[in-house]
Amino acid sequence: MGSDFTQQIRDKAKELLEKGTVECVIGYETGSDGFSARPAFIYEPAEVERLVFDNTCSHNLVKYLLNKKGKPTAVIVKGCDSRSLNLLLSEKQIDRDNIFIIGVVCPGVVEWGWNNRSDQLQIRCNWCRQHNPVIYDFLVGEPVTEGPPDDFADIAAMETKSTEEREAFWREQAEHCVRCYACRQACPGCYCIDCFVEQLDPEWVGIRIAPEENLMWNTIRAFHLAGRCISCNECERVCPVNIPLSLLNRRIEREVLGLFDYRAGMSEDAVAPLITFMKDEKLGIGE
């Protein structure tokens, strides 16, 4: 996979930059440990040799498109990332005409950290049912058949615990949280100009980096992603204290799927259930 995918990406990037179709290609290059990937911004055709693709390419590059508004840009997306691209298109945050999408049929990404790579797939790949990009202009790789629907086994396991156990669990996680906001900064769905957590009037969340405030922060962020999270799980990957944020996000994702039969980011003109109201809509839980 690796070298062939890499070559196709380099060739396409070179062509796009030479023709002037785009100003910049956002892809992956090898990081400072010599083997794991990091985001790369390629502006010159001569630089395309830096581009690579392998199973450490877990970063969701779609987030960077928000910094490239109005500038023709190419971006490399895996299946999950492509859904966040649709999310941003449907929420009118980016302009389709300015974006060239290089979709990659994702072979899955492995658990890795700096100078540390395992053969184990990341947990995001266990629940992934979108190895094939849902939107692209150029496809790398042969589309694969997706697996059966996700059974949310991780969420079901969490629900076997008592309320007290779950509360204790989340309090401990909140104890670890340092509110570095890496989760938010990595998330393509978090693009508010003024995030609620930084608003002063009203002050939704206190300034203290302490369990109560941290719980509030993580909970509200999860709710703001209800029906919008596409489960790329970058938030969990970037967390410096390993808070299992997917347990929050996927709990809500399952709820949205059950209530509205809706998965975020599956099309660029989707009408998201929680930001719209249908006349004949049921009011939800308990009906």
Binding site: D33, R38, P39, H59, N67, A186, A210
Partner: protein, 335 residues
Amino acid sequence: MTKIIGKNELESWLSGIMKERTVFAPTRVDDLILFRPVQSADEIVFDYENTNLSPKELFFPKTETLFTAVPKDGDIELTPTTVDQEVILFGIRPCDARGIAILDGPFLDEPADSLWSQHREKTTMIGLSCTKPAPQCFCTSMGSAPNDASNVDIMLTQVEDGYAVETITEKGEKLLQGVELRESDVQPPVPTCDVNIPAEGIVEAITKMFDDPYWSRLADRCIHCNVCAYVCPTCYCFDIRDRTDKGKTERIRTWESCQSKGFTRIAGGYDPRADKGTRLRQRFCHKLLYFPQQFGALGCVGCGRCVIACPVNIDIREIISDVQKIGAEVGQGSN
């Protein structure tokens, strides 16, 4: 002669201290290693590379109340926070101890920060030499060493049958009173940290390439979270806010970072560092230019935490090399 304490004796000594004082030590918390108060020596992890978060939070907590204010008799009564707890910090690495010493610069500069001074006074640091520096480590390049004992009260270095003990300060001597140490002619190993980062002349180099487009290109990749600053033993930016609840007001200080959008936003909405490139440059200029100009030492101790924690591999070691290279080129161009 080397003074040695056996592993069992070390553990019983620490257990004794725990009865009277709070001992913070590296301990396993889920899959992390963090400095936490420990109740018994069994909880201490001895064979760790380094903790996920630096021990700076024992001196500069994530959140700390500076003072409280309550209305009283038509006036306002202010009560400053005092630090009463005596703390033993066991297992601090030389790089992190250097980080604390470096932060004495800004915090003890007149007028000294009262809380920092109190935490410093109440804390005794027992250092633990690194036997095997991790791949991300580069302490030697930043003026320290895996067995650098200069910033702790007591230094321990693992030897075959226990730990070699060096008493550095009076505080350390006091803590060791009554502890039986064995004399031995064993020479403690001298571990090396072989990664060589070209830090010499960095102040001049970064000054020369201050306006280089390098910073905005690098900022393309940065996602501007605060991870690097919060794992860093020498980042000390903070925010202050008042919080009033039921008539009582607290003035609270919390960690902040120059990477946050809005950290430098001032009244009227103007932000002198509004773009990503200048924000990212600030972090490296603070460590490699402003801090040495103000306080002498580089504001980095080479612990490598940011190298492994950065979600997008903004690697300070790589940046130092790039800055030297670009600085030299710019220098040549201007001659």
